[in-house]
């Protein structure tokens, strides 16, 4: 939590409400490792504006888990308190088909100005420091409708001009390479951190600040970002979670994973 002013909600709760706002009724989302924040956002969307939204929660491949309760591990048995579950092999097939999933929640130990993500290695791949855990399904970012990037670490180590290892493709090296690749997916749509939300400039395909979280100064974001970030003032503040949203989030999170 990097907000200086006291609030009655946490950064994770704010991030979950911001992500929920990106999800539309009838869409289908997937996510991977360590995904409590996106899972909370999906369930929140279902219980508010998007009752026909569906999501597959990590490696259990449970479909529309009820989040009773929200859990930290993406393969927890309790995720099978769900509408149904599908085999992991089927999820890999549907990711490959490419027109089934509208949203992929992504993250990385590095995220660059064009929204490329790195879960593999900082420095050289042969002698990394640190070595990341690995990419799992992130290369499928190339085939999904929209990418929503989230991270709890908004600092210059995470937000870099260019990832050292591209394990999840964003807008590649920018407009020319993106056009040339002609990928099936729509590319990154939004980034949310404990400080702000960011979108991508449609011309340059570079990250730009879209809103500052309540209490955050623009200078904080500029200093915490390792590349020149585009700004179009005046910047709005990110809307605070509503009491109704907080009630829903806290009801699914008795263990306080988001607090």
């Amino acid at each position: 939590m990097s907000l200086d002013q006291p609030t009655d909600w946490s950064a994770s709760e704010l991030m979950a409400t911001v992500l929920a706002g990106q999800l539309r009724d009838g869409e289908v989302a997937i996510m991977g490792t360590g995904s409590a924040v996106p899972q909370a956002s999906c369930r929140l969307a279902q219980l508010t504006h998007a009752p026909n939204f569906s999501y597959i929660a990590g490696g259990t491949c449970s479909v529309n888990p009820y989040q009773q309760p929200l859990v930290a591990s993406s393969c927890d048995y309790r995720l099978l308190r769900a509408e149904t579950a599908v085999p992991l092999t089927d999820v890999v097939l549907m990711e490959g088909r490419g027109d089934v999933f509208d949203i992929f929640f992504a993250g990385g130990i590095q995220i660059d100005a064009y929204g490329n993500c790195n879960l593999v290695a900082v420095g050289s791949w042969n002698h990394p420091h640190p070595r990341g855990p690995g990419s799992v399904g992130l290369p499928f970012l190339s085939r999904v409708g929209r990418i929503l990037i989230y991270t709890m670490s908004h600092n210059r180590r995470t937000f870099v001009e260019k990832v050292d290892f591209r394990s999840g493709p964003g807008f590649l090296e920018g407009p020319a390479s993106w056009r040339e690749a002609g990928l099936m997916g729509g590319g990154p749509a939004m980034v949310v951190t404990p400080l702000c939300t960011m979108t991508f400039n449609p011309e340059t395909l570079r990250m730009q600040i879209a809103s500052l979280h309540p209490g955050v100064e623009l200078q904080q974001v500029v200093e915490a970002t390792g590349f020149e970030i585009e700004i179009e003032p005046p910047l709005p503040f990110t809307p605070s979670p509503s009491p109704e949203q907080l009630d829903i989030l806290r009801a699914m999170d008795p263990n306080g994973l988001l607090r």
Binding site: G59, C75, L88, T89, V92, G96, R166
Partner: protein, 295 residues
């Protein structure tokens, strides 16, 4: 059914290509992994499925892995895998860097006798194929004439898998998520299965479609009640966060890793390990079990 030490000594040859089942902090075949360490069997290649955790990190920490094929080794929200990280940063382990789609499709190719498998377009835009030419290459799609990324089949010699239930022959039922475990059994030459509980064939055959792995694919069944500890066994117990954190703390350096291995693996048998952990595992049951499912 055989003893765990006989199963490992008779099936896992030194230098084998071994695959470990389970995913993240769940269904890791830890009893078999610990026994391999006790017997000091080297794995020539180790494959994770697609996400390894304690199952891979402990073998790596014991210095028993020559080459690692993986798309993830870590402990999710608990942290990075200390031995994997150290060996990778030192450059002292050969890594075949993969992604999940290749591991799934590569196992499918292995299971079906496919000489190679084409992969969906777009995956070539990650840097993974560049650093792993042994698993990935390109060919021409004979139908469209376009360049297509292809993967080599994955053909493990020995699969180490955990199931909640099986009969004595090895007709196995996974009560929770299957992850890639069924596909691993189909692709692997030999399967060693550790189970929480043996049930009768009559019980298994009352729900034949509920069987995840048929016995004819299984070379040995060993009873390992609590055998996934400190990871979870779906429907039986959740993961032991306190023990996992202790491991992550101890494994920060080689000496601590060695202490862990001495205390929890080398100086104990699997039966004694289970006995010493029985109370802990009991305390992990309530939270994990949704309902006791009758077969």
């Amino acid at each position: 059914m055989v003893s765990i030490s006989d199963a490992v000594s008779s099936i896992v040859e030194d230098g084998s290509f071994v695959v470990v089942g389970g995913m993240h902090l769940h269904n890791n075949p830890m009893a078999l992994v610990r026994e391999i360490i006790r017997q000091g069997r080297r794995t020539g290649k180790l494959l994770t499925s697609p996400c390894g955790a304690m199952n891979a990190d402990l073998l790596l920490g014991a210095g028993l892995v020559d080459e690692l094929i993986t798309s993830y080794v870590g402990f999710e929200h608990l942290g990075l895998a200390p031995n994997f990280r150290r060996l990778a940063e030192q450059g002292s382990i050969r890594i075949l860097e993969c992604d999940e789609p290749y591991i799934a499709h590569g196992l499918y190719a292995g299971a079906g006798g496919l000489p190679f498998i084409p992969l969906p377009r777009g995956l070539e835009y990650s840097d993974i194929p560049k650093v792993n030419p042994e698993s990935y290459t390109y060919t021409e799609d004979p139908f469209s004439g376009e360049r297509v990324l292809v993967g080599a089949p994955l053909l493990p010699e020995v699969a180490l898998l955990h199931a909640q239930l099986s009969d004595a022959q090895g007709n196995a039922v996974l009560l929770g998520a299957h992850f890639l475990d069924r596909l691993i059994a189909l692709a692997s030459k030999h399967v060693i299965l550790q189970v929480e509980r043996i049930v009768s064939t009559e019980e298994i055959s009352s729900h034949p479609m509920g069987t995840t792995i048929p016995a004819f694919l299984v070379d040995a069944v060993v009873v390992a009640t609590g055998g996934c500890h400190p990871t979870s066994s779906h429907a039986f117990y959740t993961y032991d966060e306190q023990h996992l954190r202790q491991y992550l703390e101890m494994a920060r350096d080689e000496r601590g890793t060695d202490e862990y291995l001495t205390r929890y693996v080398r100086q104990t048998t699997e039966a004694l390990y289970q006995q010493s952990m029985a109370d802990r595992i009991d305390s992990l049951r309530n939270e994990a079990v949704l309902e006791q499912r009758a077969l």
